[in-house]
């Protein structure tokens, strides 16, 4: 239990650090949305000064940061000048949409990577192994930006899939089950993109970890004792390799969230990515800080989950760290 509390405490500290760092970076930016208004001759200098006071732009950065922290308690996460409202209600649907992409993509890529990696580790140098190695190297070499655009091109050319967004234009008029189907159809393209991004790294690591275990003496012994090859791989090798793979789960999340930023924005999926991009372009300070902190929360939560899994899976981890 102490272990869990320590990990949580550490996560909170990291979050505080990240949000403060982002706040300082964003506040250091020359020009804010209020300043942009100055270009408009219809807005008087008095109005701008009043706005500066109201939004607290004049205060020292630490004071602004403390006020921002305070507003988290009210579920607001600051105030968006561009949307003229608290950031919280803007953020939650965006987080949900990002999770709607990343969770299926994570599941899908692990579901493919585990059997594929294990299989190619078992038949090193076989046709499947060689094919997988070639495919992973190629996929690794495709930048997210190009992959996203390529998939969009595919959608445009074939016309089978929608080319962006999360819902069709007539979404409001659809029956509930049709609405679900509509969102699912819109999910296909971005989830495919994200799966293709995270897949090669996973396959490589699964293969490497399992291959390392396969060389171990106890596997040879089991093989000599007549354990069938398939059972050997799945029951013995994969289980032993679980440890580094669980750690990999946490690590791979970072890449996935990062790729999700690009894919969401290209495919106009209303997730955290487009929100952050628009906020950076509009100099909307609190939205930037909230979006960056939120993405960090997702990542940290994923890492905590991985730690928890590791704690459950491997008794050796417990006494050392507790």
């Amino acid at each position: 239990m102490r272990y869990v509390w320590r990990r949580l405490g550490h996560a909170v500290l990291v979050l505080l650090g990240v949000s403060f760092l982002t706040f300082v970076l964003a506040a250091a930016a020359p020009g804010s949305l209020v300043d942009e208004l100055r270009l408009d001759p219809r807005v008087s200098p008095e109005t701008i000064e009043a706005m500066r006071v109201r939004y607290g732009v004049n205060d020292a950065v630490p004071a602004q940061y403390l006020r921002w922290l305070e507003s988290i308690g009210r579920g607001e996460l600051g105030f968006s000048i561009a949307y003229n409202g608290p950031v919280g209600p803007l953020l939650w649907p965006r987080v949900r949409n990002t999770l709607l992409l990343t969770i299926p993509a994570t599941l899908l890529s692990w579901l493919i990577a585990l059997p594929l990696g294990t299989w190619s580790a078992g038949r090193k140098g076989g046709w499947l192994d060689r094919l997988t190695a070639g495919a992973t190297t190629t996929l690794l070499g495709i930048p997210e930006l190009v992959l996203g655009l390529g998939l969009l091109l595919f959608a445009v050319r074939t016309g089978y899939l929608p080319t962006g967004g999360m819902t069709s234009l007539n979404f409001e008029e659809l029956e509930p089950w049709q609405q679900m189907r509509d969102v699912l159809v819109h999910l296909i393209l971005p989830v495919t993109a994200l799966t293709l991004v995270s897949l090669p790294v996973l396959v490589r690591h699964v293969r490497a970890s399992v291959a390392e275990v396969v060389r171990a003496r106890f596997i040879q012994a089991a093989r000599a004792a007549g354990v069938p090859e398939r059972r050997l791989l799945v029951r013995h090798a994969l289980r032993t390799a679980a440890n580094p793979l669980i750690s990999l789960f946490g690590l791979s999340l970072a890449g996935l969230l990062s790729a999700s930023f690009v894919i969401e924005t290209i495919m106009s999926w209303p997730g955290l990515g487009p929100l952050l991009l628009a906020a950076v372009a509009a100099r909307d300070l609190h939205v930037v800080v909230a979006a960056v902190s939120c993405s960090t929360v997702l990542l940290v939560a994923g890492n905590l989950l991985a730690d928890g899994l590791l704690y459950l899976a491997d008794p050796r981890v417990r006494p050392e760290r507790a």
Binding site: V18, A29, G31, L257, A281
Partner: protein
């Protein structure tokens, strides 16, 4: 140890050579590009790649390829006089590798929405896109070397401060961090300054991972027997750092740089793609792709995808090189 199904030892020479070729071509963009990248032919927007012909209407075969312009044939010429350019800022020139006589135009890769030659823009864009990556990576790794070295060597509070700060940078998903750091700089920025800005951004964003690795090496390096022996013989901090620690760190630094370089090329492309990096009229592979955000362009003009293809090729080559470097460093004794 036998290397797996592929042989990186052989592949990486080819990859290195290809990369070198691409970089030389980018530096000499002025010579290889038929036109200036910002010359517009407004009435020739989104013209598909010019077809090269060898056989004319009467069925005669020509050794020198030619292009058709309003029914007339214009032969393609080599080393033609054209728009003046400079190679590496200093060497002036006005001869271009390929060209056709006016009024015909040679658009080997088509034109963009302003009727600018896509091939010329691709070549000039490479000067920004390809150099932002390695330079940014070198900067990041240099910062990582210094900070990681300090942390590992001195330990104590120096170590704590540096490594905790690094942890913050590693805790944020990469692209989110990239745009958060971008937020700290002015929104509208001159294209010339944008390149320096991108270098600064990626250097700040990426120092943490190399710093962490270098720290590990320094920590293990300072406790080795021969280092302890050198210390016993009176070697100074600086001597130990220079002779025993840094040479080991060098291999790791090189591998990290090779891994970071393509990532930073993508960073530039992504920033410019979303209009927050290098802006018009200066071409970069990212801002050339930005036009694909328009549905009609995406669906109709396939040659606008070519910068993406170029990115892809460069990425693959970099990964081959990084893979080979990684295996080589891992195979080093000690």
């Amino acid at each position: 140890m036998t290397s797996g199904p592929h042989h990186p030892g052989r592949n990486h020479h080819v990859a290195l050579l290809a990369l070198a070729g691409i970089y030389v071509t980018a530096i000499c963009a002025g010579f290889f590009a038929p036109y200036d990248p910002s010359t517009q032919s407004r009435d020739l927007a989104f013209v598909p790649p010019t077809g090269l012909h060898w056989v004319d209407v009467s069925g005669t075969i020509h050794l020198r390829p030619f292009v058709y312009q309003e029914g007339r044939a214009y032969p393609v010429r080599f080393f033609v006089r054209g728009a003046p350019y400079r190679i590496g800022r200093f060497v002036p020139g006005e001869r271009h590798l390929l060209g056709v006589d006016a009024p015909a135009m040679l658009f080997l890769l088509g034109t963009d929405g302003f009727g600018r030659d896509q091939l010329s823009r691709l070549l000039y864009g490479a000067q920004i896109s390809l150099f932002a990556g390695p330079l940014g990576a070198a900067l990041s790794v240099a910062i990582g070397l210094v900070l990681g070295g300090l942390a590992g060597f001195f330990g104590g509070w120096v170590d704590t401060v540096i490594m905790r700060a690094g942890e913050l940078f590693l805790a944020v998903p990469w692209f989110y961090l990239l745009f958060a750091v971008r937020m700290a700089l002015p929104l509208r920025i001159e294209p010339q300054d944008a390149f320096v800005m991108i270098l600064a951004i990626v250097a700040v964003v990426g120092w943490a991972r190399p710093a962490r690795l270098i720290r590990g090496i320094v920590l293990s390096g300072t406790t080795r027997d021969y280092v302890v022996a050198a210390r016993a013989l009176g070697a100074s901090d600086l001597h130990v750092l220079r002779r025993h620690v840094l040479p080991q760190a060098f291999g790791v630094a090189l591998t990290q740089a090779a891994l970071l370089a393509p990532q930073y090329i993508l960073a530039e492309a992504t920033l410019s793609f979303f209009g927050l990096g290098v802006g018009e009229p200066v071409p970069s592979w990212g801002n050339m792709l930005a036009v694909l955000q328009r549905y009609d362009v995406l669906s109709s003009y396939w040659w606008m995808f070519l910068p993406g293809g170029a990115l892809l090729a460069v990425f693959l080559l970099y990964y081959l090189v990084a893979d080979a470097l990684h295996e080589r460093v891992a195979a080093l004794p000690g």
